[in-house]
């Protein structure tokens, strides 16, 4: 009985310690950001690794999601005689929800894991320790450029996902189904507000970028310096980023869209 309570207490303390370490890590990361602006070249290289190389999968997924959404929603909307608003429904679901969320999930899988594995192997190879020995702060030299690059790349990728999704829906709706192209765009323009819908979507993708990148870097930095440790940390990156993004998405949606329109 006492042992059980002690185990529960130990477990709770470990969890709290983990939260504390993550929070301190995040604060350190933010504190290291100003110094990186003086060496922006490092950030550019990381944007190439994180952003450019995720571009193909993001564009391909966005196109596929746009195609499928258009086909599926058409079948539902036609029963209400509202097939013309297909563009609006696709646009709102992409810009508000699917664009930021699916991009973040793909981003965690495509870029987050590679960040964790890279940092984890740096740690396992004691390169981080070597940097510290040379009196170079690894947070400023290694982590901050990657963090900034992730936070910059994620909104760009999310908006490209939405844009290519809308184009994909346009291809299916106008090209395949035969909805009038003028109505397709006009109903969207009437129903989608730049600040309320697009602006909030961009804010969401920005927040998700912070979550995904920070989680990936933290998991890499805190990994056990063994092959199993790196593998475990990579898995945790995907799980925690995805859950964090989905949870945060609910909170943000409730804050942004629940108040009366």
């Amino acid at each position: 009985m006492i042992d059980g309570i002690a185990r529960l207490g130990a477990w709770g303390l470990t969890q709290l310690r983990g939260f504390g370490r993550a929070a301190l890590f995040f604060v350190d990361l933010l504190a290291a950001l100003p110094s990186i602006l003086r060496r922006f070249g490092l950030v550019v290289t990381q944007i190439h690794t994180i952003g450019n190389r995720s571009l193909v999968i993001i564009l391909a997924s966005g196109m596929a999601v746009g195609f499928v959404l258009a086909l599926q929603l058409y079948n539902t909307l036609i029963t209400f005689g509202a097939a013309e608003s297909l563009g609006l429904v696709v646009n709102l679901s992409l810009v508000r929800e699917l664009g930021p969320v699916v991009t973040a999930l793909l981003f965690a899988g495509r870029a987050g894991t590679s960040l964790t594995a890279e940092i984890g192997l740096m740690k396992a190879g004691e390169q981080i320790a070597a940097l510290e020995l040379m009196a170079i702060d690894p947070r400023q030299r290694v982590l901050a450029p990657r963090f900034l690059a992730g936070v910059i790349s994620m909104p760009l990728l999310a908006i490209l996902f939405s844009a290519i999704g809308i184009l994909g829906a346009w291809l299916v709706a106008v090209g395949l189904i035969g909805i009038d192209a003028g109505n397709f765009w006009a109903i969207q323009q009437n129903g989608v507000d730049v600040w309320r819908d697009l602006g909030n979507g961009v804010v969401k993708s920005f927040v998700f970028g912070i979550i995904c990148t920070a989680v990936a870097l933290y998991q890499g930095y805190e990994t056990e310096a063994t092959p199993e440790g790196v593998a475990y940390a990579t898995t945790r990156t995907v799980v925690i980023s995805s859950l964090g993004v989905l949870g945060m998405d609910f909170i943000l949606t409730a804050l942004m869209f629940s108040t009366g329109r």
Partner: protein, 164 residues
């Protein structure tokens, strides 16, 4: 890959992202359809606003001339107070009337402005005097049933009471 090539690729990536943003904002959202700033505010009081929401369009002859900005309840008269922004350049006579209308059978509700004949125009901050409330389906059905019952009652009275 050389540093210069990487920089060019990153530049292209950022440009592509911005192009996507501009595309969504201009082609798929309403950045151009109405402009902020050059509008003036009008107020209208309705006995019942039905399902009217903030940001609903204000139309005259079917053309969008403004947006509803806020809806509140007047605590004294128990009327719904609707504030709307109308684009400058569209001036309406003093005795214009405002109606709450529905777009299609199931569509959203909007405000229809019908110009009157007064030579003076509504100025910023003015209140539209003549308003027509939203049609509430339950009231309509209630009225219909009431009329039916009244008809039945009067015809029954003429027939000398009850069954023939």
């Amino acid at each position: 890959m050389s540093k210069r090539n990487i920089e060019i690729l990153v530049g292209l990536f950022v440009l592509l992202g911005l192009a996507g943003l501009v595309f969504v904002a201009l082609k798929a959202a309403n950045l151009t359809s109405f402009s902020n700033g050059d509008t003036y505010t009008l107020t209208a009081r309705f006995d019942n606003i039905g399902g009217l929401k903030a940001r609903a369009p204000v139309r005259s002859a079917g053309v969008v001339v403004g947006r509803v900005t806020s809806i509140s309840l007047d605590a004294k008269t128990y009327q719904g107070v609707v504030r709307m922004e109308v684009n400058r350049g569209f001036e309406f006579p003093k005795d214009s009337s405002a109606k709450i209308l529905t777009a299609g059978l199931l569509g959203d509700q909007y405000i229809g402005l019908e110009p009157g004949g007064d030579p003076a125009n509504l100025a910023a901050g003015d209140t539209i005097k003549q308003t027509q409330s939203a049609v509430v389906l339950e009231n309509l059905i209630g009225q219909f049933l009431f009329n039916k019952a009244a008809d039945a009652g009067s015809s029954g009275g003429n027939g000398g009471g009850g069954k023939p």
